[in-house]
Subunit: 227 residues, 2 copies
């Protein structure tokens, strides 16, 4: 039997959860290079680093990718206690530190993935992708392989059309993700990482520390300006 | 070993997804009678039968149960095509009919359960309960036993604290749920069921038809006024 030429297959439609940070920026471009039909989805959950949403919007506009920013700020009435949204100081240092636990928003990824799955069903996309990676495992239960496997199981049965949850960086370090992006020729000045949403990145929060280490490990200089 | 006297155990804390309809009203009262600490959670998703939320609010106020109504109307930007929210006529007749498929909101229960799980983690509740029942299976994939089992699996690993999804009416008919509620002495004039949010219930939509049949099967008259 002859194979169907690839040009006769409809391109795969993928909803990418796109925060505006470096991991999801790389993820978006990975699927773009694979020729997928993309739907970028960002969430405004009252994060103090809302600046990342502006970066996300800019990238999608330039690339002609449909982009939705959904305001789920109302749900903060339900989800108390994260320093990413409340008036708690953002901790400095590494993700492995216990203090970083204060950045955990209860059930955040399940909420975002649930909305993304609903969106995928509506636009007839077969896949939802998000940028969970190995560095997140220690602190965020909803970035672990077991969580992704179980979300996949439920996403297969929750609607008439099954949706696949894809997290291709699940076992990668941030350094490896950046390496892939640099090899694709991506411009990381189009991404925002810092958890403090000030004019320039702080260079001290867990997010900044990891980003700077990833650039150093790749022998590159981060194009972003730091305080 | 002697058993711990029940008075020494902390009452179980349960988040109940409470639409204001008869199933979730019965559910709420079931846990109330078990002595649980209750947190009622309703969703305003732009449903045309918003009236049910007023009924829910009234019941919680009378019973002294903390009640949150979360406006998730923003997500309608993502979830196209349900007659419950869009300008599509609500179909009449039984749930088993194909036309009732137009009342399916993509991924609705996964979205609501995800938010309820986040709320449960925040208030240290160990359980989220919702009123899925046997009559919903034919049309709503996210009311089926397989969905509930898989949501339970993911709710166990998504946060530091596991949350149990409980759907005690999963294999019950609406008639059986009503029978339990009538045996508890509940007053169903405090519930709203009709999918059309007019002054009086229409008596013809799938929801009304099932409600009226359940009362008839229990040999009772529905205390609500119909058009």
């Amino acid at each position: 039997m002859s194979q169907i030429p690839s040009s006769d297959r409809a391109p795969e439609a993928v909803v990418v959860i796109y925060s505006g940070g470096m991991d999801s920026y790389t993820l978006l471009n990975r699927y773009k290079m694979q020729g997928c039909t993309l739907y970028a989805l960002s969430f405004d959950y009252g994060q103090r680093h809302k600046k990342e949403l502006r970066y996300a919007g800019q990238v999608c506009q330039t690339s002609g990718i449909p982009h939705k920013i959904i305001d789920i700020g109302q749900i903060n009435q339900l989800l108390a206690g994260s320093s990413l949204t409340d008036n708690i100081q953002v901790p400095e240092g590494h993700y492995e530190d216990q203090s970083m636990r204060s950045t955990v928003v209860p059930n955040r990824n399940m909420i975002m993935l649930s909305l993304a799955i609903g969106y995928a069903v509506s636009v007839r996309a077969t896949k939802v992708a998000y940028g969970a990676h190995g560095g997140d495992h220690a602190i965020y239960p909803d970035c672990r392989p077991d969580f992704v496997a179980k979300m996949n199981a439920v996403a297969a049965v929750a609607n008439y059309d099954p949706v696949v949850i894809s997290a291709p960086y699940l076992h990668w370090t941030k350094t490896e993700i950046l390496r892939e992006g640099l090899a694709m020729g991506l411009d990381y000045s189009q991404t925002w990482t810092c958890y403090n949403g000030r004019e320039q990145a702080c260079g001290r929060c867990g997010s900044c520390v990891e980003r700077l280490e990833a650039f150093a490990a790749n022998g590159q200089t981060d194009p972003l300006c730091y305080e």
